[in-house]
Symmetry: D3
Subunit: 270 residues, 6 copies
């Protein structure tokens, strides 16, 4: 596997742990980060040996969000014409968004494991994952408001699917910190663990559970849930009918039924 | 009232209890089930003496989901041409979906009362109901993933309106069992009861409360909430304005006001 | 500041407290109320010295909802032609809706502070606010159903963004009272306080916290969250990219960064 | 084939000509019409020997639209309560609409052949067909406006896909007659013929041409064009990709390629 | 009737002719224009004696579009902060758009009568009307491109409903002039007249024809066609069913039927 | 500039002519074609010296559509499991679609110049262009139906924006050939020329006209028209307001005004 500057990858059977690996910088998202995450998730999307992905941060914290040097670097590219600057910034923002879209659109489940700080852009990132798990020491904040700006890499777009509208507004307007406990109670994370180690053990275990399911059914299920974030119920019913009309002819259903009868674990091909 | 093979109906005043009645098969959904449920809910939709519907299961369990014999029967109808099979399966899936659409589109409130197992297709069914209530022994699972397939009769379309996105994905990807307690905490059910009997008593009571309201206002309220699952806020405001512009000329408002003044229960016509 | 009949305004620094001020009528929403609230929120939207708004009720209760005399007055204007009446009522309902749209579309955050009764139309009102806070004695009810009518000023349109579908239907169909405790557990309010005084203190404090943020970033954040109530994720990402491409050229980002470096509070212009 | 009161059916090979057969009443749409058309198109949708449908009118005219006796009959069912009447009329209108939805949703192409009068409801009907052809003597009018009402069975919904917005408004606001010539120039009909006989010959010929194509590909093409009337381009591309991923595995592609090589007409199974 | 600076109004029976009245400036749209047009169309929307509106230009030309002095005036208000400027311009553009929205949303039909130049903003204006008629000397151009800017007051939003996508792009990218003849052939105008006088006579006649129809049915028809510019067919069918369920109880249907029987002109109340 | 296998590029000033260059194969779309077209349009999108693009075919014909060898090659990759095949074909179709999306999403105008055959996939391609021009000898056909399949690379998605629904269905169901004359009359092409040479001269000239406009305004105009293919009018108005609020601060407006005053051609920077 390729070497990365901002990430380290560890694969256990069919689960790959994608680790943000700049602990000395609280895993701040620098230029390498934004480009490599796109590359990694495109790879994971295509790589047959990968069936589930865990996303975590090296060291005491998940991530402190975007590296401020990136912002000032971009500021340095601005010229005197507002029109020119606007097109340049527009392209830049779309590029950053595409990095997290690669996570959201990856056809395989992505589980975020969060300890310590998870701030600003890190919230945009975990909002693009399928599920989120945290340790008790996790500290979250939508801190873009304290930079005098509107968050623009996905949190305001994806959090409304995850947490209530009222609490989202309070968190986005105030930028206040909130704990793993509160994250659990508002539905941002699925489960809270005493320690980061316990969290990693359990999250890797959940990922392993998912990895032995039919990969085709997992991909289809994720595609369908993603689809429903933006579509009507009648469109969704029509879409799954069209999809399953083909997929129910695959061998996976037969493999599953045979396994149930023989009371053995099914073995689904990639 | 007509006789059914998979159901039994009991009417108390203006509430009808639609009971899945194959306890010896854990109320598995066989061919008769899928056809009769459509018939029953079309009848309930039209029948003026019915103002609220409770949906429950006979015996120790609500339902174990689709009868696997149905799947193998359908498999037996497949031929050698993929195109032909696909059209056949497409029509079949749309037909199954229409059974639960009949529940969702019934103009009268449907309250699901759930004890014991509520698995696979049974989740699709309760997701099409208006409200869900469970006893402490309820056990749920989106078990389609363990059949190597994507759920296709409504759970992935309707659950996103009921429970958080993150927990939905975990349940759909892992297919793990979850308790009534968890169902309550994630918002899948409105209330949890110690025993199935207590549940039935209270659910019938809630249905009776609804049944004495203005039937027209109840139908309108359900229509509006259904509408908002798929439409913009401005469209919804426009729609209710058009609706109420006519309906506020009905007698129901007058009956309600007169009843409040005389401190007597209002008596709304069917 | 202008005098109002149904309201009283108190401004503390950049926070204005909009107080429904008919305590002897349990703050029932009369003709003056519906017109003045529109006027007040248009003013607050434009007034540069206002950066956050608290909406509260004078006396022991937030509001008992629409003043029934308004309904009978409208009934008195109806004639013999159904078509004529329908157009008249349609225009009337759109007018009432526009009063609460003025709250929802006000570009500045609106925090509702709720004690005592919050019934019928009052629920429609708080659903149009950004956040909701309540004291322990708060009592809520979607009581329109007991008037034999469908709620038509926004609760059925906006509550689905705030609370779960199942519990919404139960509350809308039964019209039953529910406590602040339940309002908190279903996500209708963000926080519960022992007393109304404690609530007011804290809500004014939260509003003050918001008022010192960049007004431009606050407006943008509210616009974006409002936008996501009705739009697809890809549209939302595109929209914020277009917005921020211009706004990131403003001084607010520089002010924020300078303040962080100097460890002083930033001072954002209106 | 069953006997009908308002229709006569003639089948030539795989084309069925559905003839409105009340020439003495200018083919006015009476109660039998509205119910039988639904029945006929459901049958044609399912019947394998039918691959294309021509819809025409017996005698000198296509149809004068809804039978006014139907309107007065419905008026006779109205009672004293506006709410009750509104629900009754709402159900009635939805029922009429479902008759023309059966035409629009029939999975097989429907070609309208129009001579003489095509007025009011008859425009709603031809708007639900796939293609329209007329003889030189055809006379059209959206005459609902002269009944003091808004057209409600589909013309205002479907004509915007067929003709320009500006001309549609003129025709709908004035209710003026327009000729086959104008119908051709605004795109309402595909082709104009000197006589009704020439029209029938050619339309039957076009239908016969369609009937020898792959029925599966024809159904898919119609489904896709219908889909695009209501959906985004990106959704449409995704949908056809899902559909064709299955259908390209069918034998039809092989049959077509073999026929092209052997320069013989392909023979597609039903 | 009030005096206006940029307009003159002439009422003939129930038709009002709204005349842009700055012929010495080729009817360029100055500050007074943008504010008064909003005022006039709000008045016409509410005024019962007005049933149809003709929009025309005094002198030899319809209008040369926005007055360039308005642009430079706005430019003069810009300051040094891009964020501040952006908010100011955003508000300004929305305000200009609202002037033409007042035309599009006016519940009564608006007929544009166009002679001579119809350039830039004048195209945005006629695109907001219901129908367009031109004399042979009319000259059109989407000339915003030659100002180095994107048209922002409605032409790019509304023209796609009126003319084909391919020709729209050519006209918008090149900004070239096109004649009344071409405007007719691409569907932008409904009819072409030899002279402006003939045009005015006929357009006033068409407006008069519309003015004797049922005002309620006209308003409903316009509302429905407007609705279909943005909504699905199924939503449109549902909406008209809800609307007509009330409106068919009005007297207009009876008045129309009685008039047809007595072969007299119906007399619909305002 | 890079060498291509299926294409040849010629640049004249700021216009690039992208020529499909396999005349001996009637410019059939082979594997190289599908990959290179994506590459070329990504390049043209980014390359500052390119401001308008002409797309044409070398030799006597524009293109005969997809190379059938591509279809058989794909067929050769299919295995025994329908599920596996379906996923493989799904990915393949999305890949082909992305080639034409690169044309549609290229931020610069694309003008198709069509002579001779333009069949099957070639129609999907020209539908993704901004404008289409043809010579008198052009011959079109949606011939996918004669391959027993539904067109899946964009024609059914994009043609409804270009030509009427009724004629589209006839062409798609029959697969019949149609001439340049008919293409002009139904609005598929903007203009018809006697010879291919005259066409190329004029199309290059139109492209040159576009190339001297403000590139930023051209890009914005294309973005806006693309946006309106999928969005509501109110969303479009909001979007252009947000866009122009920034862009009106650019120098292009000033350059344009100065040029108009000095009666010289403006010189817009890239």
């Amino acid at each position: 596997m390729k070497e990365f500057h901002a990430f380290r990858l560890e694969q256990v059977d069919q689960v790959v742990n994608v680790i943000i690996d700049r602990p000395e910088k609280i895993n701040a998202m620098n230029a390498a980060f934004w480009q490599e995450i796109r590359e990694i998730f495109h790879w994971a999307d295509q790589e047959r040996s990968v069936r589930a992905i865990v996303l975590s941060g090296a060291g005491a914290h998940f991530s402190s969000g975007i590296d401020l040097s990136l912002l000032s670097e971009t500021a340095g590219q601005l010229g005197r014409d507002v029109g020119h600057n606007t097109e340049l910034l527009h392209a830049k923002i779309l590029e950053l968004q595409s990095s997290f879209n690669a996570v959201a659109n990856c056809r395989k489940p992505v589980l975020a494991a969060i300890q310590g700080y998870c701030l600003g852009g890190a919230i945009d990132l975990i909002a693009a994952c399928d599920m989120r798990y945290a340790s008790a020491d996790a500290r979250f904040a939508l801190k873009e408001i304290d930079l005098g700006m509107v968050a623009d890499t996905g949190s305001l777009q994806r959090l409304p699917k995850l947490i209530g509208d009222g609490v989202l507004r309070e968190l986005a307007f105030t930028g206040r910190h909130f704990t793993g406990e509160e994250a659990l109670s508002i539905g941002l994370v699925n489960r809270l663990y005493m320690t980061a180690d316990q969290m990693m053990d359990d999250v890797m275990q959940i990922a392993a559970t998912i990895a032995v399911k039919s990969p085709r059914a997992i991909r289809g299920t994720k595609a369908m849930i993603n689809y429903m974030q933006d579509h009507r119920i009648d469109d969704g019913l029509d879409y799954i009918a069209t999809w399953n009309a083909a997929m129910l002819q695959s061998n996976d259903l037969r493999i599953a039924l045979a396994a149930q009868m023989s009371r053995q674990a099914p073995d689904f091909p990639d």
